[in-house]
Assembly symmetry: C2
Homo-oligomer: 219 residues x 2
Amino acid sequence: MKIDAGKSVLSANDQQALRNHHKLGETHLVAVNVMASPGAGKTSVITALLENLPQELQCGVIEGDVASSLDTDKLIAKGFRATQINTNGACHLDANMIAGAIDVLGVRGPGFVFIENIGNLICPVDFQLGETLRLVIASVPEGDDKPVKYPGIFAAGDAIVLNKMDLLGMVEFNLDFFMQGVRAVNPKAQVFQVSCRKGQGVSSVVNWLLKHKLGTPIS
Amino acid sequence: MKIDAGKSVLSANDQQALRNHHKLGETHLVAVNVMASPGAGKTSVITALLENLPQELQCGVIEGDVASSLDTDKLIAKGFRATQINTNGACHLDANMIAGAIDVLGVRGPGFVFIENIGNLICPVDFQLGETLRLVIASVPEGDDKPVKYPGIFAAGDAIVLNKMDLLGMVEFNLDFFMQGVRAVNPKAQVFQVSCRKGQGVSSVVNWLLKHKLGTPIS
């Protein structure tokens, strides 16, 4: 067997991710892969971002869950465009699921498509979906040791939101230790301190998103 | 090919789990597979149980983490017997990993071996480890919708600890909705409301464990 070392070999998933990326780009949509533990506040952060992004942008949400459509129902009730993927046991989204969901969502940009991945700090990391940006959310009550214990996902984030900052002081959480853990695996990512409940810190994340509005090529 | 329908066919993992179960049983050890999201308080609950179980029992902890030995170091510093498994990316423990860890741990009962699984509400469910009991931990700041979103793991629990009860009222959490979600998939499991931080509710979990001290056969 001859291996052509000069040729990039993409997995079937990554080939589909590239097609998704191009398809989204055709209508000036930037996809954001939102990854976090169960209960870190993925839907709350996405909702806060949708509420604070400029009105002229066209945005939508692809909601991934093992089961239920609770979050999609909430987003639609608030007037946002959203569609649900149920993985029925699978621990991450993949590019094929997203290909179908893009069609169902039917949003045309310029704007953002937020992809809420399955609540899981491990499995989603290895699957490109067609995103331009990866947003990793951690939350204060989960504890300051998550970057040390789950380095892969914190290394993969283009930005990291530390959510539920309103609970700082009510639980054990050393902000310096958390940041050391992040920096050990990801020296560059911006880290935003946010409380969705208090509406704090969201505008900084919005500004960061808007810098990427035109999208960047998938590598 | 002839299939003998009367004969139970176990996966290689479950065969090893059965061997682990028998090996533990030979020295009157009952293994408890502790499963939860990242940051729900697995180590805190295990520590509280170790501190409140009768002194005459011989107990130990097998700590599963993708990376780091933070929790094992903490347990050993408190005087408990513990050994670390690092999965280096794998999203659950399996029976082979436990077989090795039982030997390293070297505890002889009567007592309990707590197996802290990888922080993940999906992947650990399908892998028997040799445990007699499955303890699922949820926590108040994760939100009341976790049983609806991750039904498989809540169905699998012999008991469920709802931890961080001291944060009730500081975050959105409807206890009735949580319980409805649990009961929809698991009518029988006992549910214990616990705050490790305040030391509340731990004695009920200890009493539940002690009822199972002699162990029950794996099915």
